[in-house]
Symmetry: none
Subunit: 234 residues, 4 copies
DNA sequence: TATGAATGAGATTTCATTCAT
DNA sequence: GATGAATGAAATCTCATTCAT
């Protein structure tokens, strides 16, 4: 909860008033990021939006990047929690997955400003990108764990769990970004939350929950086992 | 070949010398984008790298963004061509897909500087993002066409071809970006070109080439038909 | 003892607790000045070092400069006292001088933080420089008095006592600064307290305690009498 | 000549116009330093004074400190040259010294803005102080050499040449600063160039050109030999 | 065509000091 | 007496783009 280890002045907000102000700045930052994008956001605008002086900002955060980091960690904590919940409840894997995908989609939507900000910051600042990769790695690891569980039940033999997890995370993350932050691809299609989630879930499900002997085209072509794939030319 | 309609001074480099200089700038831009990223790239560095003056640059391009556009269109033309080739040769769908994925991976790698640049520019400049979505839409449409063909053969019933295509494009595009431009996710996994391509291809294949009656967990759970999925709360 | 007329809130710390806090701030200021230099010292750091809030500081001092003034006057009082002591004891002039130089060296060393601070403040703030010159003038006057006494005994005829005193004060002051505050000149020489003091004293002694007829090179060259010096072109 | 290795963009001013502008900035910087002091000088004022835009400044110098460095090196080169000249002409040592002291005084006066700036920068910026000490060391070494020559002729036995040189350099340097930059000590004395130079020279001469058997007070007191001095308490 | 000098708006960050509690 | 949150003015440096030569 914004108690990140980076970029925040040591104790941060000792009094109740201070804590309120810190939250004021966090919320203001989200709104300004949403409106102008992280890279274009001006600190002075954040302060204005918070109804505070720009100098006050630095009592709580070391830099614009530090607020973003705080928001990003908040987001990540929430997401991990939401995505893990259904699994903890012992719901069957695919139902859990459906919930998790739905949670991602809606959390992403709610947290759009910080997410878009994270992407932008990662593009210009290698150090920030590094941090974000570390955060993102937690999610990847969770997904990979899910794949391993499926594999233990005979699904998706030969698939590299971590690499597949990385690819699936890319899919869901970037799809959310394109449709929520950028207005979607320029193709003729109607989209609503349910349809989006269902599409992602369907792809994901079948990408993972398949068996060797499945009567897929892959099987017919003798390409069913991953190892039999044609050579990649790289 | 840099014959974009935007951002290039009308006739573009008539003389032989002029054409040489234009190429000099394009190549220099790629190198500098690769080194510093598009957003951090300084025009003066591009000129330095090209061995020309920065003023000279404006004889060939209207702006920094214009070089990127030229490079991006070059890339797109090449990619469409490469990805279409196997299908034209009448290769079976999944083999063709494998080739296409491989072509994407290796083209992306070769064109990394401009691709990463495109990402960056899209995140900060809405107008550029718009253009890039138009370009990207061509690829989405192609993928969707492939899905429709598969559906005609009984695969993936109920899947929205365009939305699925958008998601799969997100997967492959972002995965390439993460692993080629950003050094990969911070997880413990070895990666090489073949493994990357195979993983993407495997996921893609099974995400699309499945049938209703497949004995997947999905089937067992009665979730096989897309329409039967639980409600998304988004 | 911090009884300056400038910059201290009128009555200054009546209660015992208040006096303790005032001393806390004075000591903390010295440590921070020593560490960061006066100009770079932040009030917040002084407060932190004192274990008090920065607001509390202003119960005792009107400004950052005011603490420095208090410390500087303390220093000056101590120095004048120490330097005068040997003369009062009736010790022969040169022995007294040796003691005085030694006292200056060691006092300067002990009071380094405030001294360096005084220098820094003098560079940026003309008003402060003015005050410091007034304080410094007391020392110059003392030195000049010593020179006049020597001249009464036939030494250093023709030397302007005040100007010479100013020059000798510059020598000792700046030499102390260079070797104690700045780590010394970048030349290959070992230095210890005794050697430093002896060198200063030796130069000072011979600069002042000479007679017209001395068999110096100056005499040989007919330059012995100050008035005979070649013209300065300045 | 301002071709310092630090802080200047690589080639600096290729065309004649560029060189003119560079000089414009150097001169403007001197004037502004003289007027406001280095620490208080604003870059925008320097640009204004030069009749150029502030952005233009950075085509020639990396920072405010870089201009100062360039000016300081110019000064040092000039000073070493001027001070060495009389010695090269084979003038007797004390006459040469007189000329050298005079040259220092007048050069310092002419170069006051940069010199005062150097002082200021040295007090606040340790890195700059380091550089300046390296430059200053050249002068100290020269002075020490002069002392060694005098000692070879029997003068000032036992005096440490480098330490004494450091002290004498401090004397002349700080005296110049006090009287030229700060308006002099607050004592009642008239000063003109000749008097200043003569005083410095007289002190310096007798500080160095003395012999053991001189009938000074020191001798009478048995303090003539440096080693016999009372103990410094440090 | 080529050069490189000139532009200038713009935003981040610092920190001594005040003051309500 | 003590606290610490709030203030806000101020100045450096960047860099895409233009234009005279």
């Amino acid at each position: 909860m914004a108690d990140s280890s980076w970029g925040l002045p040591e104790p941060t907000a000792k009094t109740r008033k201070g804590q309120a102000t810190e939250r004021l700045f966090l919320d203001a930052a989200r709104r300004v990021f949403a409106r102008d994008g992280y890279l274009n956001a001006k600190l002075s605008d954040i302060a204005l939006e918070a109804g505070k002086s720009s100098g006050s900002f630095y009592n709580y955060f070391d830099s614009k990047q530090a607020v973003l980091t705080a928001l990003a960690e908040d987001f990540n904590a929430e997401l991990l929690e939401l995505a893990a919940a259904p699994y903890r409840r012992g719901v069957p894997a695919q139902e859990a997955l459906f919930e998790a995908v739905g949670a991602f989609w809606s959390t992403y939507k709610r947290r759009l400003p910080e997410l878009a900000g994270v992407f932008q910051a990662s593009m210009t600042d290698e150090a920030f990108a590094e941090r974000w990769r570390a955060i993102r790695a937690q999610g990847i690891t969770s997904i990979a764990e899910g794949i391993r569980v499926a594999q233990a039940e005979g699904y998706a033999p030969g698939l590299d769990p971590l690499l597949a997890a990385s690819a699936l995370a890319s899919m869901i993350e970037h799809f959310c970004y394109v449709w929520q932050a950028q207005g979607g691809d320029a193709v003729d299609v109607e989209i609503d939350d349910e349809k989006a989630v269902r599409t992602l879930w369907t792809l994901w499900c079948h990408a993972v929950f398949w068996r060797q002997e499945d009567d897929t085209g892959a099987g017919q072509l003798g390409l069913g086992r991953t190892g039999d794939a044609p050579r990649a030319e790289g």
